[in-house]
Symmetry: D2
Subunit: 350 residues, 4 copies
């Protein structure tokens, strides 16, 4: 296995399995002098925490790279110990393939059928991303760049018009959805799923404001391309859309060209703040779609490792939907992508 | 500027501006012994060629890395000379910002307002991707992996049900669209645009068959994440959707979980051939959405470099839609992504 | 600060300061299925341990990547806690520059004058290299590749003719020196230094046997170039010599060309097992020279942070010579370099 | 084959075989706005040119990245066509292994016995390094960093005391040796070799002045480590020594510690301008040793591809010593290393 690193200059490596001793990460390439707001990190970890029964710990053990709460420029290593390990919950599933789950490909790739959770494919790995992402966010905020993610869709309940709506109302509901009416419907859908032992997909919107013009590299390392990679690197992510996104396919140039105003901003920012792979100086916004959580509380037909038909009865502790707990992960990956491009930009600045 | 390289093991660097002497590329890390099918490369370049008036050349000058038409393992460098350079076509636009175009961000980033085409942001750069991608495809085809892209949507004309339809019919129309009826409507839309001086967006589907199970790395370098980056690195790409894509947001786990059959394939392959970032052994399929070409043959309000209002009258030679010419580019970037992951997989194989 | 990673495929990131909570590392890209010999790692850590008074701990905490003592292919994270932290030992030195020491450049680079040991420049960091290197060595040994380092010179006491001498005698002395007579002289020099509060430089030889022909890349990533980088990345390393090394400057082609025998080995292997950057299949051997440890128990004239003349009186706990404790570090870095090239080689193999 | 790239931020890829159509390179990550001094590049290429009979061309074809002689920030691609290709010169050697030459390892690694020169292992490849290195040098010179290489040893003729001697005298002899007496002896040794059909090794010193304090990363990516890699990546390089180099093994801390003066410079700069992997602000100096050119004009016993004993009679066109033609290559690789670290440094600067 490789590919546990993200970034070129601000480079994060994560490690740890969901049912091992800890998850954690190392940041190589963090600028010195960032004052760490520990409370914000804990708050983001708390938001990331499963709404399910499981009691995860979010205690962070800092191993290196900080002095009196400020980054020193040396690698920042940190741990989040795993406390609530109950492997017995998973024993019944031991020999059956879980539909749409990492088990089969892991078994084929590594020759190991990991019945204890799902190894590196576990959502637990994202806790390390959140910690690293918070440090990136705190640097970016010093540069007046602000990142925020929102629940835009759960099942049929869908917010229209993002990001051109009153986003501050998102604070008033647990889903961080900028439309109270849709938020209510979403909560109803989640309740319905809970009763039927089902799960449901969702769409997350994210906006970054304050990004200066000129960040991103115009060919392969477009800011849009690396943001897309950042989003698709989150478990269960299946689609990325920048600006109008897939709506562009049904649009005419005369309709959706972004016309410049005298201050070089545009009327509608259909482009989502990135043109030709480079930030335009306008707000960056995009959406990421996540599939339903594959583990459901319904019987599912499947096969065992010999290909024999069987019935899977899920018994563990599971979520219904990646929203809202994926929001801080989306924010973290956005921050990790933006800080890396931002520092690369600086290498070429005067 | 950086980021003109793609890949970790099979590593392509491209260079050249649309109105300079040549575009080209270097492949570092190509396996030895691939027999190059020159005709296929020329055919892909011909498909990539603008349908507009401009006569581009597709002559390839091989500089290194081939001996008697077979790769030697050394870097493969190649050129595609630019012959039909007519900078005078662009002179009128000299001092006006083109809406949704690379000019503004290039000007801000590099301090140069390049009135000659659009430098590295030009579609011409993709010719080098196609050449490198063809070499990757020819290696993959030796491993029985086949890649093919299709036009799925132009404006309101849209093919449903991809990839579960008769794909071979795509050969019968110039758009490589697997639905003849929709293809006719698409052509009508293109005609309409041509008459009105407008442009239109499109959606491309791509399928890779024969990919073995186990390719891709499960955390940041998911196969899905790198495919997404590959697609979004193409000019004008604004969305990437894997399998059901953004439809997953409106789906329940009980509906879209991929149930295993005794041969470890699934009923519907909603996942698009990748689960947890790793290939499942089933066909990989995804779509990429491209915005309308920003240069249109209509007057557009804009501003000059001082922010003074002005009217832009386009006079150059331009396309109406990225389909079908972007299809070989999508195929090439898919091949470059898959070969890189495939070779990385081999480093860990027994 | 960046550059805390080593390797392209087998990629190690280290972290931790000498006087912080722990040092440690993460390996990304380790093959699955390596059975870890914990005893060998502990033995190598014990050898690396300072001969000075300081009681370092060598306890390893494995955080991830191992299951029942075998690598799973996921990132291997580990810690070595720092127990014996006595910052008060260093207080007197607080405001004076130590000659030939990292303090000045760290102060200038990071704006912090770290009076607590020397941060990332501490020899303690190499403990993490040793752990990661042992895992690499255990993989290489499964491929019948064996790495061993020897003390060849301390001050004026010097072993001639490496590696063409009876190396097994090295086991019989604490310096791991393959010449008992020279070993005695070296020990006398160390004693002498101890009495005078001085330190002394040294030269280490290293040999890797069993390396197959063809490993290494012929241009920038020559096996020799990356070995050289690996060696010079060790603290206090000042020279690297492959095969005859700097003696080549005073040699004629007719004398030192390696003449092939019918089995494709050569008479003398003057080249040190690498030609044109690629392993020849013969033993790889090279030397690395380390400067004297800069902290000595003698008064030294220096300046304070304002440039005012002062006298430095060292009071901490310090070594006299990097030999023999640097030997397992040299072995570790050699192993990290060889495994990375070996895995890269496999990516291109049939 | 991989590893044809050098650098992390200022990233050079080279390509081309000695007896193919051209050699060349692409620079990805070059800052915009460097005014290119074409004459200096031509002069460096001329210096790199073989002193042997062969008439190489040094004509540079710029393919991209320059506008009116100034870098635009886009990839700079360039070619140096090969004109004087006389493969017939090499035919007799076709089936015999050349001692200490790349042929054997290439044959084993790539399965091809390349009788036409030595492919990527040819010294011709270094022409591309020189071009790229000159661009880096011109950027560095704008920052008042100056790089210069000197012949210090050919056979038994050896200059002592580098760099503490009158370096400007090097301009007065063709070897660029800073000691006229030794230069005469060196020329006599070269003459002697020419008469006897022999070749001889050499040592090159290099000094970089004007480097600010703080450049380089303190752990694996030490400035010393990457300089060492840069040097050992040059064909035939066998040793790298920084500052006192291997003399450190026979030195005491009390002798060779660099004592600070009130202006933070040191008495002797024994360290060679780098401590703990980071530039000290004092002149950087180091040496690189090159083995004798393996092709000699004497009969040599060898074997054919079946291991049968044979006699090799060299008949091509060959040099006697890598000095002085390797000097601009050493300067180029030094520049490529320094610019990369310098730009990385900037990414973290305020």
């Amino acid at each position: 296995m490789s590919g546990n690193c993200f970034g070129k200059i601000f480079r994060v490596t994560t490690f740890g399995e969901s049912h091992g001793q800890a998850v954690g990460g190392v940041i190589d390439g963090c600028p010195a002098g960032i004052r760490i707001n520990q409370q914000q990190i804990e708050e983001q970890l708390r938001r990331r925490q499963a709404t399910s029964q499981r009691q995860e710990t979010n205690e962070i053990v800092w191993l290196s790279g900080l002095l009196n709460g400020t980054t020193t420029g040396t690698p920042i290593a940190f741990l989040i110990p795993n406390h609530d390990i109950r492997p017995q919950d998973y024993q019944q599933e031991k020999k059956l393939l879980k539909p749409s789950h990492a088990h089969y490909v892991y078994w084929q790739k590594y020759g190991i059928f990991d019945h204890q959770g799902s190894g590196r494919a576990s959502g637990r790995e994202t806790a390390a991303r959140v910690v690293a992402g918070c440090i990136a966010m705190q640097y970016l905020e010093q540069q007046h760049i602000h990142i925020e993610a929102y629940t835009l869709q759960i099942g049929a309940a869908k917010v229209e018009g993002f990001p051109h709506l009153e986003l501050s109302s998102a604070k008033e509901n647990i889903l961080h959805c900028p439309n109270m009416e849709q938020a209510s419907q979403m909560l109803a859908i989640l309740d319905d799923c809970r009763q039927h032992g089902d799960s449901v997909g969702c769409k997350v919107g994210c906006m970054a404001t304050g990004m200066p013009v000129g960040i991103g590299e115009p060919v392969f390392d477009k800011l849009s391309a690396d943001l897309s990679k950042a989003m698709l690197s989150i478990n269960a992510a299946k689609a990325f859309e920048l600006g109008l996104g897939s709506e562009f396919a049904n649009s005419y140039g005369s309709q959706v060209n972004d016309l410049y105003k005298p201050d070089f901003t545009t009327e509608h920012n259909y482009s989502g703040g990135i043109t030709a792979g480079i930030s335009t100086g306008e707000p960056i916004y995009f959406t990421t779609t996540f599939k339903p959580i594959p583990t459901i509380m319904q019987d599912q037909p499947t096969v065992d490792l010999n290909g024999q038909a069987a019935t899977l009865q899920a018994t563990g502790r599971h979520d219904i939907c990646l929203c809202p707990r994926v929001l801080p992960v989306v924010e973290a990956m956005t921050a990790l992508c933006l800080i890396d491009k931002y520092l690369e930009f600086k290498a070429y600045s005067k």
